[in-house]
C-alpha cells in the first residue's frame, strides 16, 4: 500500500504474520493471502508428504494443506492433528500464469504488521535448511525474526 501525505510520497506496506509455532512467525504478502477458514474439513491423503494435512475443498477445487512447523523441522509427529485454521494462499508458477492455491494449517488467526522503516532486513534463521528454499527475505522486529515466505516456492516444490 502506498500512502501519499501532503504532497510527498511515503512508502509503507503491510505484511500478514502467521504464528506457525510458539514464538515462531512468518510473513506473507497480503495479496497472497486469500481466506482464513476456521475448523477446516481436510481429507488426509494416504502416503502424502510427512508435513501434509491433506486436501481441502475450497471454492470448488481441492487445495493442499501443509504444516509449516513440521516441514521446517524435517520430521513428522506420529500423526498431525487437524489445524484449527487453514490460511488459503495464492501463488503463480510465473508472471502471467494462472493463480494456483495452497494452504497452511494454523492454531491462531494471522495478524497484520505495518512494515515500518525501522524494521531491518536480517539473515534467515538457521534452525532449518529449508528457509532459503521457501523464504525470499527476512525482517527483524525487535527480538522477533520474521522470514517472508515465497508461496510459489513453498507449494511448487518437492520438500520431501
Amino acid at each position: 500500500m502506498n500512502t501519499v501525505v501532503a504532497g510527498r510520497c511515503t512508502l509503507s506496506a503491510t505484511a500478514l504474520l502467521a504464528d506457525y509455532a510458539r514464538d515462531r512467525t512468518v510473513a506473507f504478502a497480503p495479496h497472497a493471502t486469500l481466506e482464513l477458514i476456521e475448523r477446516p474439513v481436510i481429507t488426509p491423503v494416504p502416503g502424502a508428504a510427512y508435513f501434509a494435512h491433506g486436501l481441502l475443498c475450497w471454492q470448488a477445487r481441492f487445495v493442499p494443506v501443509i504444516d509449516l512447523h513440521t516441514l521446517l523441522r524435517a520430521h513428522a509427529d506420529t500423526a498431525l492433528r487437524p489445524p484449527r485454521y487453514a490460511l488459503v494462499l495464492a501463488w503463480q508458477r510465473a508472471a502471467g500464469a494462472p493463480l494456483e492455491h495452497g494452504a497452511i494449517g494454523l492454531a491462531a488467526p494471522p495478524h497484520r504488521l505495518e512494515v515500518r522503516a525501522d524494521l531491518a532486513a536480517c539473515p534467515l534463521p538457521n534452525d532449518s535448511d529449508l528457509w532459503p528454499l521457501i523464504a525470499n527475505s527476512c525482517l527483524r522486529d525487535g527480538e522477533r525474526v520474521i522470514p517472508i515466505i515465497d508461496t510459489a516456492r513453498l507449494f511448487d516444490s518437492d520438500h520431501g
Partner: protein, 154 residues
C-alpha cells in the same frame, strides 16, 4: 486443465468400484475387485499379525483387513466393516463400510498437488465424488502400502 500440474490428466471411461473405509474413499477398476460378500459376524480377534484378522470358515481360514482413513491397517476391527471383497493379486480379504459399483462412467482424474507427493505414495490422483473426493488406486499398491505401514489404533 489441472490447476496443480498444468497437465490435464485424460478422462477415463469404464467400470469402477468405489470402496469406503471410514472417511477414505478409493476408486478402483472393477476388474480388480472381486465379488462382494456380507460379513455375518466380525472376526474373533485372533490376528495372524497386527492388523490381519483370522476368520475361520468351512472353506478354510482366511485373513481379513480393515483400513483406516489413512490407508493403514487397523488393529481393532470396526463394527461397520460388513462388506468383504477380494482385491486382485492380494492374499487378503478387505472389509469395507460401503461399496458402489459404477458402470460405464467417465471420470476426470486430478493430479495430486506437487507439495503433497511422495514417491512411495499409493495414490497419485483423485476424483471428485459427491461433496468429497476419492483416491484412484490399484489393488497391488493398496495392499503393499497398507501391509508395509503396519497396524494402528483407530
Amino acid at each position: 486443465m489441472d490447476r496443480n500440474t498444468m497437465t490435464p490428466p485424460a478422462p477415463r471411461r469404464g467400470n469402477f468400484v468405489l470402496l469406503r473405509a471410514d472417511a477414505l474413499w478409493l476408486l478402483l477398476p472393477q476388474q480388480e475387485v472381486g465379488a462382494v460378500e456380507y460379513l455375518e459376524a466380525p472376526p474373533d480377534g485372533s490376528q495372524a499379525k497386527p492388523g490381519l484378522f483370522m476368520q475361520q470358515r468351512t472353506e478354510g481360514p482366511r485373513q481379513l483387513a480393515a483400513l483406516s482413513s489413512r490407508m493403514t491397517l487397523l488393529d481393532a476391527f470396526p463394527a461397520d466393516r460388513t462388506l468383504v471383497t477380494a482385491l486382485r493379486g492380494t492374499p487378503i480379504a478387505w472389509c469395507w463400510s460401503e461399496i458402489k459399483v459404477l458402470i460405464d462412467v467417465s471420470v476426470q482424474p486430478r493430479s495430486m498437488p506437487r507439495v503433497l507427493r511422495t514417491p512411495a505414495a499409493p495414490v497419485q490422483e483423485f476424483v471428485e465424488h459427491d461433496d468429497g473426493l476419492a483416491f484412484i488406486c490399484d489393488a497391488q499398491a493398496l495392499c503393499t502400502y497398507a501391509v508395509d505401514h503396519g497396524a494402528m489404533t483407530p
